[in-house]
C-alpha cells in the first residue's frame, strides 16, 4: 500500500515533468534551458513593441542573420539602464537627452536615428478643457489653470514622460509643482498602451506617440486634440552598447541590426508599416539622419 502510493506520487511527478518538457520542446522556437544559438538581446521602448513593429521586423532579421533575437519591452529609462549594466547588446529608444548622456558616459557607441513620428495630445471627444487647435504648451497651460479636465501622465522614466516634462517646462511651469497640483494630474507609472486605456476609462487627456495611439485607437474613446508643433517631434534611434565598456556585448550583431534598420528595404517596410490597417504610416523612415521640423 505504502509503496504503491510512492509509485503513484513519483509517476505523477514524472508525467508532469515529461509533459512540460515535451510541450516546451515541441515548438520550433524551443524552450530549452540553455540558449541554443547566437542571441542578440534588444531592449526597446514600449511604443516600438506594443505597436507591433518589432514583432514584424524580428523574424526578418532573424532569418537574414541566423540569430535568435530576444526582445525586452521596457520604457526608455529601463532600456538605458539595461544598456548601462551590459545586460543587453543594443537599445532602441526615443529620448534624445538621455541617449546623448548614455553615449557621453561611454556606454553607447553611436546614436543612429532610424524612424520618427509625432507625439499627440489625445483626449475625450467632447474636449472638456477646450484645447483643440492650441499649441502643446498653451494646451498644458490651459489644463493646469482651468483644471477642467484630467491628465494621465506616464510617470515612468519613459521617453514620452521625458517629453511631457519638457513641454511643462516650455510652458513655464516647474514640473515639481505640477505633480502636486491636484487630483486632475494622475501619474500612471505604466507603459503607453495601459496609459491610453486608463485615460480612456477616466475620460482624461494624455500625451502619446502616434504609433501606439493608432494601434490602440479601437480600444479607446480618445481622439487627437493637439498634433502640431516642433516640440512634438518624436525620433527613434538605435544605440549599440559599447564593447569597450561591456566587453561581453555582441557588438558585431548589434551593428548588423543598426545597418539592417537603416537599410533601404527595411526603411521602406518601416514607412509602410500599419498603412493598410490604419490608413496612415505609424512611423516615418529617416535612415541615419536626424529629421528637422
Amino acid at each position: 500500500m505504502k509503496s504503491r502510493l510512492t509509485v503513484y506520487t513519483f509517476s505523477i511527478l514524472a508525467t508532469l515533468s515529461l509533459l512540460s518538457a515535451a510541450l516546451g520542446c515541441s515548438s520550433a522556437e524551443g524552450a530549452e534551458l540553455q540558449p541554443p544559438k547566437e542571441r542578440l538581446k534588444v531592449a526597446t521602448t514600449t511604443s516600438l513593441y506594443e505597436s507591433g513593429l518589432w514583432g514584424y521586423l524580428e523574424p526578418i532579421f532573424e532569418e537574414k542573420y541566423g540569430v535568435e533575437v530576444d526582445i525586452l519591452c521596457a520604457g526608455t529609462g529601463i532600456a538605458l539602464e539595461y544598456g548601462r549594466r551590459g545586460d543587453v547588446d543594443i537599445i532602441t529608444v526615443h529620448s534624445k537627452a538621455g541617449e546623448e548622456k548614455f553615449i557621453s558616459e561611454g556606454y553607447g557607441v553611436e546614436r543612429v536615428a532610424f524612424a520618427y513620428n509625432y507625439f499627440l495630445i489625445v483626449g475625450p471627444e467632447d474636449d472638456p478643457a477646450g484645447l483643440k487647435e492650441m499649441s502643446a504648451e498653451d494646451a498644458f497651460k490651459k489644463l493646469a489653470e482651468s483644471k477642467s479636465g484630467a491628465f494621465v501622465s506616464r510617470g515612468d522614466d519613459s521617453g514620452t514622460y521625458v517629453r511631457e516634462k519638457a513641454i511643462w517646462r516650455s510652458a513655464g511651469y516647474d514640473y515639481e509643482e505640477i505633480t502636486k497640483a491636484g487630483n486632475w494630474y494622475i501619474e500612471a507609472g505604466r507603459g503607453m498602451g495601459p496609459t491610453l486605456l486608463m485615460a480612456s476609462e477616466l475620460k482624461a487627456y494624455t500625451l502619446t506617440d502616434v504609433g501606439t495611439y493608432l494601434t490602440y485607437k479601437v480600444k479607446t474613446e480618445l481622439v487627437p486634440i493637439v498634433d502640431k508643433g516642433s516640440i512634438l517631434l518624436n525620433v527613434y534611434s538605435a544605440i549599440a552598447v559599447n564593447p569597450e565598456r561591456n566587453p561581453k556585448t555582441n557588438y558585431e550583431m548589434a551593428n548588423n541590426l543598426v545597418n539592417f534598420l537603416t537599410s533601404p528595404e527595411i526603411q521602406e517596410l518601416i514607412g509602410n508599416y500599419g498603412k493598410k490597417e490604419y490608413g496612415i504610416s505609424l512611423f516615418n523612415p529617416c535612415a541615419g539622419a536626424e529629421p528637422e521640423e
Binding site: L13, C73, L197
Partner: protein, 228 residues
C-alpha cells in the same frame, strides 16, 4: 460580463485548436515551476529532517524566520536575483540574465521557505508514539527518520503542491529576471500581463483560465492520492 464569457470561449478554442504558442507558453510555465519545486524539494527534504530531528540553540528562531519568508514578495526576490546576475553584478559572468535558468534560481529561492517550513510542520505533526515505539524496538536514527517521513507523506506532498502553486502563479521574478522574451522566457503570468497591457482582454482571460486549469488538475491529482 461579455468579456469574461468571450474569454472562456476563447480559452476553449485555444485549447481545442492546440494553439502552438499557448501550449508552448503553458509548457514553459510548467517546466520552470516543476523544475524549481523539484530542486527545492531535493534539499528541503533532508534539511527539514535535520531541523526537525536535531535540537540546537536558535531552532525556534530559525523556524519562525522560515515561516516569515512564506510571504516574501516575489518582486523582492526578482530584484535580488536581478542585482546578482546582471552583468554589472557579482555573478554577471555566468551570463544567466534574462534566461529561464535565472527564473528557476529565483523561484527556488521563492518556494524553498514554503516547502521547507511545511515539511518541518508535517514532521512535527507525526504522532510522537511512532518514533518512540520504533526506538524501543531497536530502530536506528536513520530508520526512525524514514519512518516519520513516511507517516508525514501526505502533508509533505501538500508542501510540494503549495510550493508549486506559488511558483506557477508568480510574476515578479519571471518579469524581472526572465524579461518576458517571446519564445524564450515568456510564461503564462507574464503573457497575461502583456496581453492586458496590449488591451487584448479576451486572450488574457483565456490564458488565466488555462493557468487555473493547470492548478485544478494538480490539486485533483493530489486529493485522489490522499483519499487512497
Amino acid at each position: 460580463m461579455t468579456e469574461l464569457w468571450q474569454g472562456l470561449v476563447r480559452a476553449i478554442e485555444l485549447l481545442i485548436s492546440l494553439d502552438p504558442e499557448v501550449f508552448e507558453i503553458a509548457g514553459r510555465s510548467l517546466l520552470i515551476s516543476v523544475t524549481s519545486c523539484s530542486i527545492s524539494a531535493l534539499f528541503s527534504l533532508p534539511l527539514g529532517g535535520l531541523i526537525h530531528f536535531y535540537h540546537f540553540p536558535g531552532k525556534r528562531f530559525l523556524i519562525s524566520t522560515i515561516q516569515t519568508l512564506f510571504s516574501i514578495p516575489t518582486v523582492a526576490v526578482g530584484l535580488f536575483v536581478f542585482v546578482l546576475f546582471s552583468q554589472a553584478g557579482p555573478l554577471g559572468g555566468l551570463n544567466l540574465m534574462f534566461t529561464p535558468v535565472a527564473m528557476v534560481i529565483g523561484q527556488v529561492i521563492l518556494v524553498t521557505p514554503i516547502i521547507l517550513g511545511l515539511i518541518i510542520s508535517a514532521l512535527s505533526g507525526v504522532d510522537k508514539a511512532v518514533p518512540e515505539t520504533a526506538i524501543s524496538l531497536g530502530a536506528t536514527g536513520f530508520q526512525v527518520a524514514i519512518l516519520t517521513l513516511r507517516e508525514a507523506r501526505y502533508a509533505v506532498l501538500t508542501a510540494l503542491v503549495m510550493g508549486f502553486g506559488r511558483a506557477i502563479s508568480e510574476i515578479g521574478i519571471a518579469l524581472m529576471v526572465g524579461g518576458n522574451i517571446k519564445g524564450f522566457t515568456r510564461t503564462l503570468t507574464t503573457a497575461i500581463s502583456l496581453e492586458t497591457q496590449k488591451g487584448d482582454i479576451e486572450l488574457s482571460i483565456a490564458l488565466g483560465i488555462i493557468l487555473i486549469s493547470i492548478a485544478l488538475v494538480i490539486n485533483l491529482a493530489l486529493s485522489r492520492i490522499q483519499q487512497r
